[in-house]
């Protein structure tokens, strides 16, 4: 039985459809990242699960109980709000303790539990402080502690790292997965940062325009994105997209790119003759100074070394720009000018140009 079941959830504000039939199961102990561009309806989804907003239709069930119409206080979820939403007139301790006081826990129990979670989140020393005396990071940890303290059925995290500075975000991104795993919480984690989603999620649910366009493991989403839209959202730099029309030739399935013939796996033969979009991840472009088999000449226009990789800006004969990335700083050619590029045939993605959906290869 899923810990959280969402069925065909719909929500509109006035004429604007925010959630257009959303369905999702989250298993006990699982962390699902809801990822999508801003305005996709992520926060509204969390609010519907928490019960602070009401849906137009659909079902929300927690541990098998239909809570669609239940007020938030009866749902037993924990939620960390994007703006922390700490109670400004209460100390950090009382903030964290509030879910326990609502459950009428004994003062001693409250003290133990609050101190335990505070220690885990490294805010034990500021428990007596009022929210306005806390740093942003401490506020954020207080909000998390408050959400976690009562062992909620489902933990709802609304982009908790959005309003903290970069360094803190980095630390928390490392810390959160083990923290969440340690607490054994089932979590729905909203984020706009694909790296955060990849780092934290057992699965990622990609929400675009009020619909889940793909729900899968981080690896699957990266390797087999359901659509051009999803492919674009994951990866930095983003995927190169090239309009192509695969044709069957004696030597196999090929596409024309910049006047060159580039081979494609035979498993895409069913796409022959269709207007397609070829998706090439930057790391799937191999660049060399000397010509390669199945390669094509390009102009190397810019080289940007980053810490762990090097970005290359290429220009094909037809003027098309391509971004390639090479692992490490030394592997790639450094000299601007003529070079040769080749696509890794196993890493290519093919999408239907009209619908934007991925064309899966035949087995």
């Amino acid at each position: 039985m899923p810990q959280l079941a969402i069925r065909d959830l719909r929500k509109s504000f006035k004429d604007a459809v925010v959630l257009d039939g959303v369905t999702l199961d989250v298993e006990p102990g699982e962390i699902v990242c809801v990822f999508g561009p801003s305005g996709a309806g992520k926060t509204v989804l969390l609010r519907l699960v928490a019960g602070v907003e009401t849906c137009d239709s659909g079902v929300v069930a927690l541990a098998g109980r239909d809570v669609t119409e239940a007020p938030p206080e009866t749902r037993g979820v924990g939620m960390a709000f994007q703006n922390f939403a700490l109670f400004p007139h209460m100390s950090a301790f009382d903030n964290i303790a509030s879910p326990l006081t609502a459950r009428r826990a004994a003062p001693a129990t409250i003290k133990t539990k609050v101190e335990k979670i505070a220690a885990l989140l490294k805010i034990g020393h500021v428990l007596e402080h009022a929210p306005r005396e806390l740093s942003n990071g401490q506020k954020q940890r207080t909000a998390l502690a408050r959400a976690l303290v009562a062992d909620p059925k489902v933990l709802l995290l609304d982009d908790p790292l959005r309003n903290v500075d970069a360094k803190l975000r980095y630390e928390m991104r490392l810390e959160l997965p083990s923290l969440l795993k340690a607490s054994g919480a089932t979590a729905l984690y909203v984020t706009q940062d694909y790296k955060e989603a990849m780092a934290l999620g057992d699965r990622i649910a990609v929400l675009i325009d009020g619909r889940f366009v793909q729900v899968a493991t981080p690896g699957a989403i990266y390797r087999e994105p359901a659509s051009i839209g999803v492919a674009r959202l994951f990866g930095d730099p983003t995927v190169n997209l090239i309009p192509v029309e695969p044709v069957i030739r004696p030597e196999g399935l090929t596409v024309h790119i910049a006047g060159c013939i580039v081979p494609l796996s035979r498993r895409y033969e069913h796409a022959a003759g269709r207007a397609c979009m070829l998706g090439v991840r930057p790391e799937a472009i191999l660049v060399d100074e000397s010509p390669m088999a199945d390669g094509f000449p390009v102009e190397l226009e810019a080289v940007t070394p980053l810490n762990e990789k090097t970005l290359l800006l290429l220009r094909a004969n037809d003027g098309r720009e391509l971004l390639a990335s090479e692992a490490g700083e030394d592997a790639a050619p450094r000299r601007h000018g003529v070079a040769h590029a080749r696509f890794d045939p196993d890493a290519l993605l093919l999408f239907d140009a009209a619908s934007g959906e991925r064309i899966p290869p035949k087995a």
Partner: protein, 285 residues
């Protein structure tokens, strides 16, 4: 950036001094008068030097006014008590009724709420007699004429719009997520209202309450029309007192001092919120 010349500063000083004199002299003079005997008051030329006496206050408090033609009963202390009772009860009731309504108007955007809020606001600016005169006829039929209950009910016209509009603004300033967080934590709507919304809007509620008290206290026309002598507050009572006592100017002054002291004290105490209250929340001080 101060390029003010000495002359300009002197002029400013003089202007400010004149302003202070104009606005404070009447209060000061009446205050002095309240400690003078009638003979001292009637001296020509008037003089700020005299031997202060508490006789005027003693007469008011004892309720016995000794004049050349004998003693006169005065009910001024009763008026004072009426003012305390009417204002306190009206504000207390207006807070009990108005704070939840203000919360409803702030949190739930609903048509009826807006209609009520704006009706009350627009009648805040309507001629009070328009409502009061027909109301006095209804009150006679309902047996509410000259009752505290009737007066307190009508005083809601003064207190309620003020409380609604000021407190509403304070509620709107609280992030809804703070309340959501409390509810998600497992607290009922009511305990969220009493433990989160009300404490956070506390300063606004206090300010609105104090101001409403001042406005109720200072009201004249409501009680003039709906109350007879034994229920009248100081504003109406003082006027009746002037007519009745004729030339007991020292006592009149003392009565005035007693009438204005509570509001002036409250105003000084709550001055931080006055701007906001006086503009019904449109201007923050």
């Amino acid at each position: 950036m101060e390029h003010t010349s000495g002359l300009e500063r002197a002029l400013r000083g003089v202007a400010l001094a004149l302003i202070v004199v104009f606005f404070l002299f009447p209060i000061l003079w009446i205050f002095l008068m309240s400690f003078q005997t009638n003979e001292e008051i009637l001296r020509i030329p008037p003089s700020p030097f005299f031997t202060p006496t508490l006789g005027n206050y003693a007469a008011l408090i004892s309720g016995k006014l000794t004049t050349v033609s004998g003693t006169l009963d005065i009910a001024f202390m009763r008026n004072l008590w009426n003012s305390v009772l009417l204002s306190t009860a009206s504000v207390a009731i207006a807070l009990v009724l108005g704070v939840p309504a203000a919360y409803a108007f702030a949190r739930f955007k609903f048509r009826l709420g807006e209609d009520i809020a704006f009706t009350l606001l627009s009648f805040r600016f309507a001629p009070p007699l328009l409502v009061l005169l027909p109301l006095s006829l209804y009150f006679q039929q309902l047996g509410l004429t000259d009752t505290y209950a009737g007066l307190i009910w009508v005083y809601q016209l003064i207190a309620l719009p003020l409380i609604l509009w000021i407190v509403r603004g304070y509620f709107e300033d609280i992030s809804p997520d703070i309340e959501h967080a409390y509810r998600v934590a497992g607290h009922s709507w009511w305990s969220t209202f009493t433990r989160i919304a009300v404490p956070l809007a506390g300063p606004g509620i206090a300010a609105a309450g104090l101001l409403a008290f001042i406005f109720c206290w200072n009201n004249f026309v409501f009680a003039l029309i709906l109350a007879s002598a034994d229920k009248q507050p100081v504003t109406v009572g003082a006027l009746a007192f002037v007519t009745a006592s004729g030339i007991q100017y020292g006592q009149i002054a003392a009565a005035i001092v007693l009438s204005v002291t509570p509001t002036l004290a409250l105003a000084l105490y709550a001055q931080r919120y006055l701007v906001e209250g006086l503009s019904l929340g449109a201007v923050k001080g």
